[in-house]
Each structure stands twice: as C-alpha cells, then as structure tokens.
C-alpha cells in the first residue's frame, strides 16, 4: 500500500516481500528484493507469484513439502481453534502476547536403552531440531517440549517421570563427538487424561541458544516413568513402558514485522476512543494470557455486579 512503500525493509532480515531467488528475476523490478534474503513468510511468496505476470504458473511445479506428523497437525488445529474464530479472526478476548506459534518435529532421532542405569525402563531420545524457519523479527516468548504418548496405561492414572535433558554442542572443527554443554533434571507428575499431551516448559533452558540465533538445536532426553504419585505417598511401582513419541518443540513468538498483527496496537487504538468500559486488569499479562486470574476477576466482577 502507498503508506508502506517508504517502509519496505531492505536490510539483512527478511522484509515485507520475500521471493525465492528463482522467481525474483521474473517479478517486476518493484517487487524484486536484493539477493540473499531468506524465505520468510509462507503467505507472501505465493501472493507475489499470483500477482506476477506469470501468475498462471502451475503450482504443481513447486517443490513438494514435507508433510508434518498427523499428531502435530491435530495439536496445531486445536491451537488454531482456541486462538481464532471460525472466520479466522484472532480472538479479541485472548490476552496472549504471541502472534506466531511454530511447531517443529525432530528431524532425526536415535533411541537406545540404558538397562542398569536407573530403576525402571530408561528411554533415551536424541533430538535434532532445525529452526531455520524462525526469522530475525520473530522474538521468542516461550518454548515448550510437547509430548504425546500412546500407552496402554489406563486413563486417569497418575504417572511420575524423571527426566534428564541435555543440550549437545557440535564442535565441527575438531570432529569430536558432540559434547554436552548444559543439562537439567526434573521430575514430572501428570494424570493421564483423554488427550494425552504433556507440555514441558523449557523456555529458560533454550533461551540462550535461541537468543544467539542458533538454528540447529541438538538435545537428548532420558526419562524413566513409574506409576504413582510420590507426593501422595503412593509407592512408585511397576515401571511402565511408556512409548513416548519423540517430543515436538513448540515456540511461541512475537513477530515484530509490519505484516504481523500487533494486538497491542489495535488495543491502544481502541483505548484512544473506547467504545466500551475499560478493562480493569493491568496490562502485564504473561505470553499465554493468565486464564486463572481472569476467571477469578471475572467472578469477583460478576459477584460485585
């Protein structure tokens, strides 16, 4: 649009229009970008293709895309329904900060057992995530390891897992095996419900890596799962062979580029000419929106009313 022409970003970070190298030449000069810019937005290159003279290009010629795991698709469709209306408009009552969520499935894994290390069955999974798609203008708010498991454990039983998470560093120059840079150990207790997803917040653990624009993250996860809940003094017993599908990595991001929807801008705009009473709660809201607090405040307001 006219008002953005002056703002088109032409520096190293992917900007307003990103076109794959091969099509850039065919596009008219106004839309062409300097070489070396990476593909940034899934939506824009095809918009450009449709608009370019060769819009009639046959889409079949586009390189086939890797198909994501159906489980991952199911999770993201659920997230979509929670975040947007049927017409596809971001839900106004959602106070979350993120305007982008990316789900990565590990691109390689190797599974091996350590029989005598810990009590119970120890599973070890090697994970390598390639984060190339994250652009320079997408800032990390939260990262989660997303576990789904198919287990023969009956529903609504409690499981306690001891997990050990390692970050592996590759020193390509010395061709030595990857070394472990830092690790974290934690225990996880959860009830097996109908929807078998477990989210493990690893934001602080991955923050230093992602902040340094690391695009390949190599992790290893060891976990042992037992039935029972130590806090309720139930004895941990009969280790279960939980066949955990290797976790996906979920990144909640705030995209600061012009194309992305900036919820706060529209809120500020609305504040200038409020059409309905202001929200009482403060604006400091965590990236996921504070559902619990909202509810209690909602309740208090209704009680007061």
């Amino acid at each position: 649009s006219p008002h953005s022409r002056g703002h088109v970003v032409f520096d190293k970070s992917p900007g307003l229009f990103v076109a794959p190298e091969d099509t850039a030449i065919e596009l008219n000069p106004l839309l062409r970008l300097p070489k070396g810019l990476r593909r940034g937005y899934a939506l824009l290159p095809p918009l450009l293709k449709v608009l370019s003279d060769r819009g009639h290009q046959n889409w079949e010629s586009e390189a086939p895309r890797l198909q994501p795991h159906s489980r991952a698709l199911r999770y993201m469709k659920r997230l979509y329904k929670m975040s947007a209306t049927k017409e596809g408009i971001p839900k106004a009552n959602k106070s979350h900060l993120y305007n982008t969520v990316r789900l990565f499935t590990p691109c390689s894994e190797c599974k091996h057992r350590h029989k005598d290390l810990l009590k119970g069955d120890v599973h070890s999974v090697d994970l390598l995530f390639n984060l190339d798609r994250v652009t320079a203008l997408e800032h990390l708010l939260k990262s989660v390891l997303l576990y789904s498991f198919d287990t023969s454990v009956p529903i609504s039983s409690s499981i306690t897992c001891m997990c050990h998470l390692f970050i592996k560093e590759h020193d390509f120059s010395s061709q030595v095996c990857p070394s472990i840079s830092h690790s974290v150990a934690f225990s996880l207790h959860f009830e097996v419900r109908k929807r078998k997803w477990v989210e493990i917040d690893v934001t602080s653990f991955l923050q230093p890596l992602i902040a340094t624009n690391r695009r390949n993250i190599h992790m290893a996860v060891n976990f042992t799962c037992l039935m029972g809940d130590p806090q309720q003094n139930t004895k941990l017993e009969n280790p279960i062979n939980v066949a955990l599908v290797p976790p996906s990595l979920l990144l909640y991001l705030n995209d600061t580029s012009e194309q992305a929807y900036h919820r706060w801008n529209s809120l500020r705009h609305r504040r200038k000419n409020p059409v309905r009473p202001r929200q009482r709660n403060s604006l400091r809201i965590d990236p996921m929106g504070d559902k619990g607090k909202e509810n209690s405040q909602g309740k208090r307001a209704s009680r007061r009313r």
Binding site: Y80, T100, V101, L103
Partner: protein
C-alpha cells in the same frame, strides 16, 4: 418548492420514501462489498490448513464531489476533487479504498514440514473511504 410541485417529476414516485431515499443514500457510491474465497480456488489448500474460507471484502463505488464526514476523508480529498475539476483533469479523482482492516490467523505447513500459526495484519477490509 411550489414550482417543483407544479412540474410533474420525470418518474412519478410510487411511494415517496423510496423516491427520497435515492437522494439520502445515493446509488453506486463508495461502499464495502462482500467477497469470499476458498484457498482451494487458489490451489493453496495444500499448505494452508486453516482457515478454509477467507473473506477479504473490497471497496467499490463513486466518490462524491463533496466527501464530507461520511467517509472520514481528510480535507485533501476535496482539494483533489477541485484540482481534478478546475485545474488539471489528468489528476485522478479520489478513489474508493479500504480505510480499516481486520487481522487474519493462518495455519500453514512450511516447506520443511514444520507448522506455523501466524496472525497477519490488515487482511480483511472492514470499512471504506474516499481519498
């Protein structure tokens, strides 16, 4: 007014309210029009998972000479009309364009197989203006 009454109107109004409405709400004037598409029409449904339908809408219609507050147009719009009528007709008349938008959430599959949920700004026109 008496004279008007004397002259027979070109089209005798069947009912007066319809007749006067055409002066209150001129026809073909700038307004928002519905337009709905499905990504499968653009062959994008292979990588756009949601939404299935997208209503971008569009603006179409004539811009009145004296735009006034109805469109929230800046004074410049009237000046441009004056330039077009009085000074240089090669300067285009003000156009009927979107003035406000709504965002759209899109769920897509990336070439590497990862999945991205992103909220895009200004994807649905909700209001038109002349400028």
């Amino acid at each position: 007014r008496d004279e008007n009454l004397k002259e027979a109107p070109a089209t005798p109004p069947h009912n007066l309210s319809e007749y006067f409405k055409q002066f209150l709400f001129p026809q073909n004037e700038c307004e928002l029009h519905n337009f709905r598409l499905s990504f499968s029409q653009l062959k994008w449904d292979r990588w756009i998972i949601a939404p299935h339908r997208y209503s971008p809408q569009y603006c179409k219609g004539d811009c009145p000479r004296v735009v006034g507050h109805r469109y929230g147009s800046p004074v410049h719009t009237m000046v441009q009309n004056i330039i077009y009528e009085k000074l240089d007709s090669s300067v285009p008349k003000p156009s009927c364009v979107p003035a406000e938008y709504r965002p759209l959430s899109v769920l897509t599959i990336e070439p590497d197989g990862s999945i991205v949920y992103k909220e895009y700004e200004d994807m649905i026109a909700t209001k038109c203006t002349c400028r």
